[in-house]
Subunit: 351 residues, 2 copies
């Protein structure tokens, strides 16, 4: 998904909503701001992993630097910053000039973030512009990569080599499997477990974050009162029974599962409190899953966990001022009446 | 002015605007939250002065406890929380029951705030309901206070006595002069200097905050780009030339001017950043006025102050992440296109 920071207005709710917030949106972090965040996290034993998404999700960059886009297909000079979100057709041109530009950007980012891993996105890159672009088609022929998937793979491989030469490791969304995984790549498996399983079996490291299981932007309960309900209902118990390591992996393959992450995309979260609401208390269940030894999902003592939440942890969240979702549903000011979401139905697949 | 916290929706912009934010608004501080704020401020040598506004600006209290209102004039059971702002006709009933209720509330508030001063509001209390209320008219006759202004004065005097008996001092907006100032009262003079001058000459202490001079919610520049422009244009230089002590006061009278305050009402400020924008950098000019010895307004070295801002203070605000108004006007995301304000024209009167 993509939301551009410097946008003239903002879609309210799901991208199918017709509501707009007409306040321009923008702002930036200085390199010093970012170093402060990195240092703050490091004091708490947290490593911040930066992500610069290529070659998709790039309209904001193309709006600022039109030569980065497929200008033989679309008038990139006329492109503004996107005001809504979702999968965006405007992707980077597969040129040497674009590679040099991003090498410069990555060099500055690496200087700020000491993280071993560097996330290059790689997700949701529609191939329509490359199919229509003479430049891209010539490039496919020159490189001998066969098709547009091969071109994307070439793009990612370039940065895999580039990052490895600098002592870093490339990580990307599971779309980077398409067209062949770059030799040093690690995969964040978001469209399900399948990409992660394939990568682990091929000897690549994996971080599991299947959207069917642990997307915290997805709604926590059914009913009309959840603010801007998106995705499947995933309760705290569902999260507590999430299993990062699929049982079909051999012990050797399973060692490639470095851990899991719970994504929480913010397109419909209009404030820090809304983000707190969506993320907590489920993040506590997720933390116990990834930071402790638990039995198989169905054998886990969820009631015991819930008792510990009641006995101590909700009080901690209260003391910290975390605006978590109350057990009996949102407080009035946590609702967003009239702002449309995009709920989906279905239970999480068990692994 | 009045904005109720627990409201079903929120007026966007000036109260004459037709825009609404349909998100319910609410929340509260626990007593522990307040003690934390008081302690945080005290560590920085700041005393937090609480305000509970009586007998006007009380619709939220009446909506929760209908017996507090003039129920022989208006159906207080049917009153909701006000969704807009300004001067509100729903005021407290002048009954013993209401006094007891507020004594209970004040007792809890005094326990949290060690401040010597306790602000009881006293402003913007329309007398229409009391004029129409048989209960209020009987009360005027019983008390022998003559009219509705006398009734308001009786109300404030009651709490002056009550606070004094508890070792505290009552402070109120300059409307508390109407009907006769309570013996121990201190005045925050907001409608101009006049109330403060009258009070100081009568031997009462005064805090100067004339809206013509130092209301920081008022706009900082002319033009279309200021967010939700309210009130008169008051530049940083205007604030720097604000004089808290009117020259017509004798030295003895002038000693009653305890200081000044710069009010910054938040009805059109939708976020902390908007409040930063409205308050800074002008608060720096105000601080120098009240915390240093300066010559008469026209003789002040504003250029020297501006140079010191450029040389050091803007950088401090940047480092602290304060979203102040840039000298050349708002950044795009600091604007509020389409949200109506209520600008007024005129230079500040010089004293």
């Amino acid at each position: 998904m993509e939301t551009a920071a410097w946008r003239p207005r903002t879609k309210r709710g799901h991208r199918t909503s017709e509501l707009w917030d007409e306040t321009p949106h923008g702002g930036y972090y200085t390199q010093d701001d970012l170093r402060e965040i990195v240092a703050y996290a490091a004091e708490r034993h947290v490593t911040v992993v930066p992500e610069i998404d290529v070659p998709g999700h790039s309209q904001a960059a193309i709006a600022a630097y039109p030569h980065l886009g497929n200008s033989d297909v679309v008038d990139t000079e006329a492109l503004g910053v996107w005001e809504t979100w979702g999968v965006n057709p405007n992707v980077l041109a597969p040129t040497e000039e674009v590679l040099r530009f991003y090498e410069d950007v990555f060099t500055e980012v690496l200087d700020v973030f000491p993280s071993t891993f560097f996330h290059i996105g790689g997700d949701e890159c529609p191939k329509d512009q490359w199919k229509a672009s003479e430049t891209a088609q010539k490039r496919i022929a020159e490189l001998g990569v066969g098709d547009e998937d091969g071109l994307q793979s070439w793009f990612i491989r370039h940065f895999d080599t580039w990052l490895t030469a600098r002592g870093r490791r490339l990580i990307g969304w599971d779309e980077i499997l398409e067209g062949g995984l770059a030799p040093g790549a690690t995969v964040t498996s978001w469209r399900g477990y399948a990409g992660g399983i394939t990568a682990a079996r091929a000897g690549h490291d994996v971080v599991m974050c299947p959207e069917q299981q642990v997307y915290l932007d997805f709604r926590q309960a059914g009913g009309e009162e959840e603010p801007v309900p998106i995705g499947w209902v995933r309760t705290m118990e569902d999260i507590y029974r999430f299993e990062p390591v699929p049982p079909e992996l051999t012990p050797e393959e399973a060692r490639h599962v470095l851990g899991a992450q719970a994504n929480s995309w913010a397109e419909v979260m209009d404030s820090q409190d809304r983000r707190d609401y969506q993320t907590f208390p489920r993040l506590a269940a997720f933390s116990e899953v990834v930071w402790s030894e638990l039995p198989a999902p169905d054998a886990r003592d969820y009631e015991g966990f819930a008792r510990r939440m009641d006995a101590a942890h909700y009080a901690r969240l209260d003391a910290l001022g975390v605006a978590y979702r109350p057990k009996n549903g949102p407080k009035p000011w946590q609702r967003r009446p009239g702002v449309g979401g995009f709920p989906r139905e279905g239970r999480p697949p068990r692994v």
